[in-house]
Point group: C2
Chain length 398, copies 2
């Protein structure tokens, strides 16, 4: 008989996906140029030419058996070594290949990290606002996601709320910095305070608490932002990374788990990922893509467009009187809606072909997310439309 | 705290992997040409040139945003449609794109299929001899793998044993034809009899029983072998496929789940796979590889070498008096060992640099597996060594 748990999930449709599908359909009606689609977090710049050139060269000149052959279950050794070296160079860490597990993007990396450090019944804490997919990602492992309410002042961590939600069943804390949807980057003070809090709770509860850091936006950090490398501050930490955003390869499903060498289980956690894979049918990223990415590890796509877009939107939104925290990174901005019901606000915006995502699924009511990974020219053109929308619907003027 | 279930698994090392590592190490000592390594089921012929040429063309001439962009969670629509069409052409089925879920190889496909049709506590039956990874694949879903003893006469199904193992908790039956490790292909009579048996048990128990067919060797079938398409015979069936063997792309992790259109849940099972993915962190195969494979769906690598190798070995083994069922496909052969303890037999063979895998982990004691996906020239050179081994150790002469 078919599994009712998964069958029931078919009823709950993602609001982001629904809005994105609406935008595509509406684009067919009135021309996609006339739809200001801020729904999806999909990179808007191509991968670096070096990636393409390197892959073509490899396909043309190297042994197909080597390029397309089975990857060892933890990833190709030379690729793991290259990832460790690159992290060490950039963040002054001491990773070795044995601390790296190649995963199919951040979703794959998180699926392994969660299972490494929890058993069914345990709790994993995260902080609002948060990526809505964390809920099924965690809950379907058998653990339970608990959400710490937001500090809407600056979208750093609300430590008072954290103290209230924290309890002995919490085996892992999940952070995402720079953050989807707020764009906020946790600063050094926040991370230090979180690390101190977790060290204290480990002592109090007498068990390890892991800090799992989801870092797909690590390379998209704006000028003047303090966005430190999380694992530098806490020993029991696991970094989950994806090349989806930095190299604009979201469909190629490549990222990794990096286990902090100072964690007391540092020697077994990556190998455990290999065992976890047997249960979840995960396999390493495609061999050819592992090899091609390893050749461009310290490069990125031209990510400057996201900062340009952010500045344009931040200025326009503040000019219109929106309450909004200036993003430190990512390609998201998360302003307060002009009425309490963010869903109603976004529905009205839709009439102006402005596709905005209401915040309720991100764990904070009354806000909306704009994903500005679109052409700068389109961001510019969206501003008068935004202006007209808030004037006509809410009587706001600049 | 770290998860003890996965930590404990670190102690159990795969015998196949151990032997393969030994062969590699031994190769470094005496030259790899002198090690007759029959341990690993790794394709020994390159992927078709059309695959490489198509992928290079795509990388060079097409929009990187389209090639490397997110795949929809069930796979790229045009790829799913192409897979359905190819199956319909070849097996006179009625698949539509909605019945196809693109998966990261057969392991990924099975992980989804198992979760679709079982809940923790259910049983999944399979038939000895079987691929040892089925045990963790199934057991880590929370269901339980039960094994039906082999019919060692011909490695078809032992129906008497099946009747004894069958019970109401069985929600799925897993077959693998052509079979790893025996090389046997289930013939029409076997599949028909199995279908009849399952239809009857569905009625008796009042619940669905799914037939999950693991088919990575479907394209490696030898002359004169009757190896029908399993889903033609039973409505509640799910076919799990991988291109690892047919296109020699084992590291590229691409395959699919194909849900029988005649199954009563045909419209929801593939979509459920998309939900299951959220829990297991699976993501579709890499977008570029989906697109490249879709362009060569009806092609294969030059697979004829496997039949050549099989004939050489079968003749040599029978000539030496081994009891052995002639394989109908795959690149495996599974003879009876010359003493009861297959482990001891394979240990002795190792002294002759013949790397053979004892059968115990495949669910049948007293046999051994040879993976003959190696150069034909090396197969030829292995025969005198095999001859010397059985003469010196067991006094056998041709």
């Amino acid at each position: 008989m078919i599994n009712e748990t998964y069958k029931k999930m078919l009823q709950g449709k993602s609001i982001i996906r629904e809005l994105s599908e609406y935008a595509t359909a509406r684009g067919k009606e009135i021309g996609y140029d006339n739809v200001f689609d801020f729904s999806l977090g999909n990179p808007s710049v191509p991968c670096p030419d070096d990636y393409t050139d390197g892959l073509i060269h490899m396909l043309r000149d190297e042994d197909p058996m080597a390029i397309h052959g089975y990857s060892p279950s933890l990833g190709i050794e030379s690729v793991r070594k290259a990832v460790a070296d690159s992290l060490n160079r950039r963040f002054a860490m001491d990773y070795e290949a044995k601390h790296i597990f190649m995963a199919s993007g951040a979703a794959g990396a998180l699926a392994h990290a969660f299972r490494c450090v929890t058993v069914p019944g345990d709790e994993i804490l995260t902080f609002a606002p948060f990526f809505p997919e964390y809920t099924p990602y965690v809950n379907l492992t058998g653990a339970c996601l608990k959400v710490v309410p937001a500090d809407t002042k600056n979208f750093q961590i609300n430590f008072q709320a954290l103290e209230q939600v924290m309890n002995e069943r919490v085996m892992a804390v999940l952070v995402n910095t720079p953050n989807n949807p707020s764009g906020a980057a946790y600063n050094t003070e926040t991370i230090e305070k979180l690390a101190d809090f977790l060290y204290e709770k480990q002592k109090e509860y007498g068990h390890d608490i892991f800090l799992i850091s989801d870092e797909p936006y690590r390379e998209i950090v704006f000028e003047g932002t303090d966005c430190p490398y999380v694992s530098k501050f806490y020993d029991n930490s696991i970094s989950c990374y994806s090349y989806s955003k930095s190299l604009s390869l979201p469909g190629e499903r490549i990222g990794y788990v990096a286990v902090n060498p100072r964690c007391k289980d540092a020697d077994v956690l990556a190998v455990m990922c290999g065992q976890i894979s047997r249960g979840i049918g995960h396999n390493c990223p495609a061999s050819s893509i592992q090899l091609a990415v390893a050749a461009v590890l310290d490069k990125t796509s031209d990510l400057s467009v996201y900062e340009t877009n952010m500045n344009l939107l931040y200025e326009a939104l503040t000019g219109l009187g929106f309450e909004v925290v200036k993003p430190g990174g990512t390609f998201y901005i998360f302003p307060k809606a002009l009425e309490e019901d963010a869903g109603a606000f976004c529905m009205k915006a839709k009439n102006y072909d402005l596709i905005l995502v209401p915040s309720d699924n991100f764990g904070v009511p009354g806000y909306f997310r704009m994903a500005y990974c679109i052409d700068t020219e389109k961001v510019r053109r969206s501003i008068p439309v935004l202006r007209r929308f808030v004037r006509e619907e809410y009587g706001r003027q600049e």
